[in-house]
Every structure is written in C-alpha cells, then in structure tokens.
C-alpha cells in the first residue's frame, strides 16, 4: 500500500547517530575478538595459516613444554584472585562501613586518600613498592625493625615462595579504594528510617550492619566480586613492571596476562607465536566468560534486590 504522503521517511538521523560508534567498536573490538578466536584454530606454517582444529588447545593443555606454564598461570592467577577476595574486598567493606557512619567526621578526606592509589599506573605502583621493599634502601626493613619485627624481613619480591603473595598485596593496596567507593555508595543509599527503626528496637551497630545493611548491599558485594574477577584474570602490567615478562622468580608470579604476552611476542629463546597467543587469549576469554555467567545465573538471580 503506497500512501500519497508517507507517514515516516527513512530515519536517516538514527543511522547518523549510531554509525560512528558502532563502526569503531565493531572494527577495533568485536572483530579482533572474533578473529582472535578464529586464529586459535589455525597454525602458521611458512607464512600461511592452516586450519588445525583443536591442536593448539591440545598443545597448550597437554604438551610437556606448555602444560606446566598454562596450569601454573591458572593456579597463580587463582591465588592472586583469592587474595583479593579475602583481603581487598573485606577491608574495602570495613572501610566503607566506617566512613559511612554518621558520627565520623572528615569522611570526604578519608575517601579521597583511600581512593588515591587506584588512579596511579601499575608502573608507578610497582616501582614504588619495589623501592620500598628493596634491601638496598632498607625502608621496609627499617619499618619492621621499628615494630621489633626486623628479623622477619626478607626481600619478598625476589623469593619464589613469597613473590606472588607480595604482588597480590601490592595490588590490593592499589585498588582497595574501588570496592570501598562502590560499597560506600550502596551503604549511604540505605534510608535512615530503616536504621532508626532497628535502633529503637534495641539493635546495636554490629547487629544493624549484618542484619540490615549487609543484606541490602549484597547485590553491590556481588558486583565488586565479579569486577575483581575480570580485573584479576586480565592483569599484566604490575607483574611485567616488577618481575619482567618472564614473571620470575622461576615463573612463580606468572599470570594469564604475562603468559599471553610471552606466548604472543616471544621471550629470549622462545619465538613469538601469534596463533598460540590467540589460544591463550581464548582460554582467558573462556575463564572470564565462565565467571561472568556464574555471576549472572548463579548469583544475580538468587540475590534479592530490595527496592528502596
């Protein structure tokens, strides 16, 4: 049916508004992600790409040269994540709870101070802590000596047993402001009436926090968890800055990100291998995807969101 006067002409303006963003995003983000997944099923031979199915994955998971590196990185990355979940997020919650108390003065200042390290780059943070923990300068040792703990000081970043834990804690130091800020925002969003009602019923601060406030902010707690997960399994800069691409000593600080970089670009005796690099990236993608899906379907659906 053709009407003499079309009611609507082609909405050209919608196209103009959306096209630039969609094109750049598709070309520089979506296409590379998909192409990288495709590459993980190919092997480069004499400059030609040949489809080899799952053979790269098979190599990564079973080849005696690759297997220990891959599982080592998965293990280290899991430890890195667990330390963040056990130290960074509970401490962030505690700080948020403290500064959200009505009686605490100077909360703006505290908030600004706690958040400050998270705006610095890993390069700066990595080096700053390297200097502080350096036995040459002796700052770390000096402080521990002052606390009468001097004999326990060790060059932690250089020891196989402690380097990963030390780096995790440095990362916690840097990023504690982010969970604190998100949880603080959730805490001050809770209506005063709710708290007052509980107080009249005789509940103390401790009870009010765990009985009322915490259940209300639980969705934010979950969000902090998944943000930590994605960030941790994508980490690279801190390790590269302090320990180099080989993630020493003896690969004890090797994360998925450093393994990806080394595989892709090569390091010392090992030649760079783009298709194996793409395979490592695909495994990272899979890990992150599993985490996000678990969060969406295992957590988000079960947690009650209170409409305040």
């Amino acid at each position: 049916m053709i009407s003499a006067k079309p009611k609507k002409k082609f909405p050209f303006h919608i196209f103009v508004f959306l096209a630039p963003a969609v094109i750049i995003y598709s070309l520089f983000m979506v296409y590379p992600l998909l192409d990288s997944l495709r590459l993980s099923f190919f092997t480069e031979l004499d400059g030609k790409e040949i489809f080899t199915g799952f053979s790269n994955y098979n190599r990564l998971l079973n080849d005696p040269n690759w297997k220990p590196r891959f599982w080592g990185a998965v293990k280290n990355n899991s430890i890195f994540f667990i330390i963040h979940m056990l130290v960074q997020n509970p401490l962030g919650l505690a700080l948020a709870a403290l500064i959200s108390m009505k009686s605490v003065k100077g909360r703006d200042l505290y908030r600004a101070f706690f958040f400050l390290p998270s705006i610095l780059s890993f390069v700066i943070v990595g080096f700053v802590w390297q200097l502080i923990l350096s036995p040459l300068w002796g700052i770390g040792e000096g402080i521990m000596g002052f606390l009468k703990l001097g004999e326990y000081f060790k060059p932690w970043l250089g020891l196989e047993g402690s380097a990963l834990i030390a780096l995790s804690l440095i990362s916690v130091w840097q990023f504690i402001g982010i969970p604190m800020m998100l949880l603080y925002a959730a805490l001050i969003g809770i209506p005063d009436e709710l708290i007052e009602a509980a107080r009249i019923d005789g509940a103390n601060n401790w009870k009010i926090f765990w009985g009322i406030k915490f259940p209300i902010i639980l969705p934010t707690v979950g969000m902090v968890g998944i943000l930590t997960f994605v960030g941790n399994f994508n980490a690279f800069d801190l390790i590269y800055t302090t320990q180099g691409a080989l993630a020493g000593p003896n690969f004890s600080t090797d994360l998925m990100g450093t393994l990806f970089y080394r595989t892709f670009f090569g390091q010392q005796l090992q030649l760079g291998n783009p298709t194996m690099g793409a395979t490592v990236a695909a495994m990272m993608f899979l890990i992150i995807l599993v985490g996000v899906l678990l969060y969406m379907f295992g957590w988000q659906r079960r947690v009650t969101t209170y409409d305040l």
């Binding site: 909405p11 303006h13 919608i14 103009v16 508004f17 959306l18 963003a21 969609v22 750049i24 995003y25 070309l27 520089f28 983000m29 979506v30 590379p32 992600l33 192409d35 990288s36 590459l39 505690a94 700080l95 500064i99 108390m101 605490v104 003065k105 505290y110 908030r111 600004a112 706690f114 400050l116 390290p117 705006i119 610095l120 780059s121 890993f122 390069v123 700066i124 080096f127 700053v128 200097l131 300068w137 002796g138 130091w173 402001g177 800020m181 998100l182 925002a185 001050i188 994605v230 994508n234 800069d237 800055t241 990806f260 670009f265 783009p274 298709t275 793409a278 990236a281 990272m284 993608f285």
Partner: protein
Amino acid sequence: MNLSWDKSKRRASNTLPHIPLMFFTLIALFPIVLIVINSFKERKAIFRTPYHLPTAETFSFKGYITLFERADFELYFLNSFIVVALSMFFILFLGAMAAFALAEYDFPGNPILGLYLAIGIMIPIRLGTVSILRLVVSLGLINTLTALIMVYIAQGLPMTIFILTQFMKSAPKDLKDAARVDGASEYRIFWLILPLVRPALATVAIFTMVPIWNDLWFPLILANGEKTKTVTLGTQVFLGQFVIDWNAVLSSLTLAMVPILILYLIFSKNLIRNITAGSVK
C-alpha cells in the same frame, strides 16, 4: 553522673573509628609521600635520612636534570596528552550520539544493538590483541598515536554508551516535544539534550581517562617507537635502564604521578559526589 558517662561513651564511639581510618590513611599515603620527598634530595640523604623532608643542605634537582637530559619526557607527556584528549573527545561525543539514539528512538533491533554494545563492558579488549596488532599493521598505523586512539575509543565506548543511555532516558520529554513542534531537526534536539547530561559526562570522562593515561599494554605493543612513547611506557623503559640511578628513578616516578594527582585533586570532589549520586536518587 549517668549523663556524663553517656557523653564519654559517645565521645569514644566518635573517636574510635578514626584509629583504623588514620592507620589506613598512613598506609595509603606513606609510599607516595616517601617517593615525592626523596626525589628532591641528593643521593646520600635518600639513604641516610629517607623520612626527612629535604633541607637546604640535602635539596637537589639532580634526578630531574638527568631525566630531561637522558629521556624525552616532554615528548612523552605531549604524546600522552594528545592520546588522552582525542580519545576522550571521541568517546564522549560518539558515545553520547549513540546513547541518544538508543534512548530516544524506538526502532527495530534497538534492544539487541544495546546489548551488542554492552558486551564490551565485561570482555577486556586486550584479549583481541593478536588481531588488533594485525589490523593496525594492515592499516599502516603501527607506531602511530592514531592506533592507540582508535583502540581506546573502542575500549571506552561500551561503558560510556551504557551509562549515558540511562541518563538520556531521564531527560524531560516536554523539552524535546516543544522543540519538535518548533520544527527543530533531530540533530538540534541532540544538542539541546547534551548539556542536561553534563554531570554524567564528567563521571564517564574520569572513569575512562584514568585507564587510558595509565595503560602500558597497548603502547608497549602498538606504539613502542621513541616518537610515540606515552608517559607510562616512557617511564617504564626509563626505569628499566636507570635502575641504579636512585635520583633519576625517584624523579621520574614523581613526575609520572604529578599530572594525574593534580587532576585528581581538581576532580575528586566532583567524582566522588557523582559516584555516590547514583545511589541517592
């Protein structure tokens, strides 16, 4: 008596939280302050009296002089500034345009397009690096700031569009309808709405700017030539070469921190207010 006991109890509950908070402030600030004050000291004083402020005798600019003699930090700063400024401009402008279309028009495929654009919030762009490098090489953009800018735009758009769409939806309908009655074009209406979402733009700006300024991964892979080094990469390379020169190391760390700290001081009040604003609608 009961009253005064109550009072002292209240005073205790007012001061008690400050003990852990101050302790944490010390932990958060100590490393930064230590680096900054020691960067202005001569070598001996760095080791002998690391906790003291520089005095007339120990004051020294030596590290900063080495820095400017041995590395092109002016250029690194210029590069970082160009990359951040242009990326930010396009992220905010293109992001606002797309968000406006998603919020304003009911066209087929709108929800799917919104979802498509939101995928990038959760999936790190780094995972596509192998193909990004190939793409950049084939476009002849390797070792150019343009390559970095394009990647950062793609990285920043998903979150920006997601947040701005929410804000655009809450823009008053009367204003748009009145403008349409007056015969304003849809582009004109976009310009009318844009100032209304200014607070959201400011928040998004900070959140996308900091990771771009601090990024090491993409400069390392896409633009590691001497002419295209950013401050973060330049500092990283410089620190690697001058590990022994404590003056130079401390100065370069201080110099790399300063711009972002100044920005933070200027914006922190606004930033924090905007983060918390979301929850107290």
